[in-house]
Amino acid sequence: MNALHEQFIVEARELIQQATDDLIVVEREGAEFDRIDRVFRAFHTLKGSAGVVDMPPMNLTLHAAEDLLAAIHAGKLDASPAVIDQALACLDQVSRWVDDFEARGSLPPRAGDDARAMAERLRELLSANAPDQRTKPGRASSVLGSGDALPEWVSGLVESQRARIFRLTQEAPAELHAVSYEPHAGCFFNGDDPVQLMRQIPNLLAFRIEAREAWPPLAELDPYACNLRLQGVSAGTRAEISNIFRLLPDQVRIIDVPLAALRLEKGRRTRDGDTAALIRTVIEEQQEVLRFLNQSEEDFVGRIGAAARAASNALRHGLLADLAEQIELASTAALASRDAAPLLAAIDRALASLAGGLPAGEAEGALVSESAGSPAAEAERPAGRSLRVDESKIDALVNLAGELIVQKNAFAHLAKRVEDEVPGHELARAVRREQASIERLAGEMHASILQLRMVPLSHVFRSFPRLVRDMSQRLDKTVALVMRGETTEADKTIVDRLFEPLLHLVRNALDHGIESPGQRRAAGKPESATVTMQASRAGDRFVVEVIDDGRGIDPEIVRRKARERRLLATDELAALSDEQALDLIFSAGFSTAAEVSDISGRGVGMDVVRATVEQIGGRVSLSSRVGAGTTVRLDLPMNIAMSRIMVVGAGGQVFGIPMDAVTETVRLTPDRISRIKNNDGFVLRDRIVPICSLAELMSLPASPASGSDARLLVVTEMSGKIAALEVDAIRDRLEVVLKPMQGLLSNARGYSGTTLLGDGGVLLVLDLKELLP
């Protein structure tokens, strides 16, 4: 999988998502020109990218879909639910192909048949609804012969042996020279053998021999009149080459080949030497799009944008960021002046530069001088442009910043020692001051690096309109989905992990929460139900709520089910408040659905929701009013990179305990501790708390505690279970970057990770959930 393919996969998914979103909006709010145009452009760009990776089935399908959208665009076809369904189905199909392509690098064998069937269905809609379907506004999808735009013979030569030239320059970067040799017609009589001279060129990488003038009929051919042009590209030095042709300087041209011509392939050990050709194909297609540009205004803006985006992306694929930037600048100019000419010119220059005829720098100069007269020349780059960075790179940065925090803690440690050990306050104060400013800087840096990992919740929210639409169709319920606060940001890991729990909650709401339209009418509610997903920030945490206005959950039914499933004894159940009874829904093995449905009855209960949310440091709670609806509330941390821990000593070692598990610390005299069965325990505010010795749990020698000493206990509470850990000492409370256990230790149970201490030691942080019996 090369970089171009990877880029394609990422982008195809984005485009599919975008098109899906827009289609749903079209269905809900009508086929406004802008919306259809957005969908159309997404399909168009998708088709363009499919061409780059050479997937004809995808092209075929998307082409048919494009025609359909064009008909809607032109007002010749209504965006009926059937049409939207089919367009969505088409996106699903394409999405599956993208998955296949990612997994296997190719499409499954049946892709061709699927594509034809899908295209046929799309076309059927077109012919059924609109007799006149030849509506392709200002768009031609044919690809120009890629040679058309390549003026220079050098580029042709380089092109012919691109893979080979690239390989060689990778292994041993060298200057490249192109030679064009046009021998005099009478050269044979001078004893010249032009081919022999070409044979002597060192490190020949490409060669071409052709007729200068078209060949005459064979009968009229003069075998001793040389009518040849010989051209080659060599990695030899200019001196070596000049030396070979020193006797005929008038017949030879030697040209330096700018490395820009090869840059396409730099840094990418690609198998296919035709990446450049593919990029050129994409750009040329954009050129074509622009040439046939419809003059209508919205259309204009849309196409300029789409074409510039496709072209600049293609160039970025080829690591030609400078050219891509020029295209983007030109597109801004084109939009400002409402004239495609600047963009077309930039594309032409890019093509020329791609062909090696013009180094990128020169192209830039040309752009500047040409557009200097227009006011758009000063136009800034479009704002809000984002940079796509590999997640692992960000993670590396997060780790480094984490280490820096640790180092900062070590420095604080040192500053304290200086204060204690060095007499005189001057030095200590200076060290303190430096330490404080480093602490501040490191903190700020860490925070802004963590900020890099923050993504808006819209990343997970955006899949829901489609899901809700499909589910409500299947359930014959009318449901409007309202989303709020999707710009709330949180760490990517958390946002990604939220999808499953939210999906489950939304499914539950639709399947169990919301009544059928008939029932709603009978209950005096509007037939159309509302499911709200809303996110909001609360300090260093955020809250996501899934709210439905359905039938609500009756605590009595929950109690009955719990009894049937023997989750709790009858008297215990009776003692529960309604709120506590509702919380039973999150117990393992509980399901209120009378029957298993194909929407939510997949054997995954609310207990999984709770478990998943707790894994990322969150909490779930539920409130419900019978007849009025249910709200499930997820309370989550914004990021999981920093954890607060308490450092304790036990059995001569130190361990970390996550602070979120600790409720309090108590010091108990032996008389307050009683023996309950085999265990020590004590009573804390009317609850019996079992005592476990941490040293014992860790199989360490217990410290020789005298019978009369007070015992130090850390009281912890994890998922409702309370326990007290007996420790020898409580040291610090720290904010640390927790690293997962690695290597041989990765399977060790009972630890949630390690962190470096200020004095350089490694601290093991305990996973109390696993550790406590």
Binding site: S160, P183, F188, D192, D193, P194, V195, Q196, R199, L204, F207, R208, I209, E210, A211, W215, P216, L218, A219, L221, P223, Y224, C226, N227, L228
Partner: protein
């Protein structure tokens, strides 16, 4: 003679083919434009001879015995 005609009518380039052979080759190809040209045995081709081949474009029996020509000319231009 490095240019000769086989009994089956095909033209053969054999060994070193210097500049003078261009004329002979051209005459043979002019006489029978459809005759195939076997250049597997040719060890070195002069530009003038190559030019005749390029202009006449006979059906070639390859690979060309001159490896440089085979690499750079036969695979691209012909």
């Amino acid at each position: 003679m490095s240019v000769r005609r086989q009994d089956d009518g095909s033209v053969v380039l054999d060994g070193n083919c210097p500049v003078e052979e261009a004329e002979a080759l051209l005459q043979m190809l002019q006489a029978t434009p459809a005759a195939p040209l076997d250049w597997t045995q040719c060890s070195h081709l002069h530009t003038a001879v190559l030019q005749v081949v390029l202009a006449a474009r006979p059906a070639l029996i390859g690979p060309c015995g001159d490896r440089w020509i085979e690499q750079w000319v036969a695979s691209n231009a012909l």
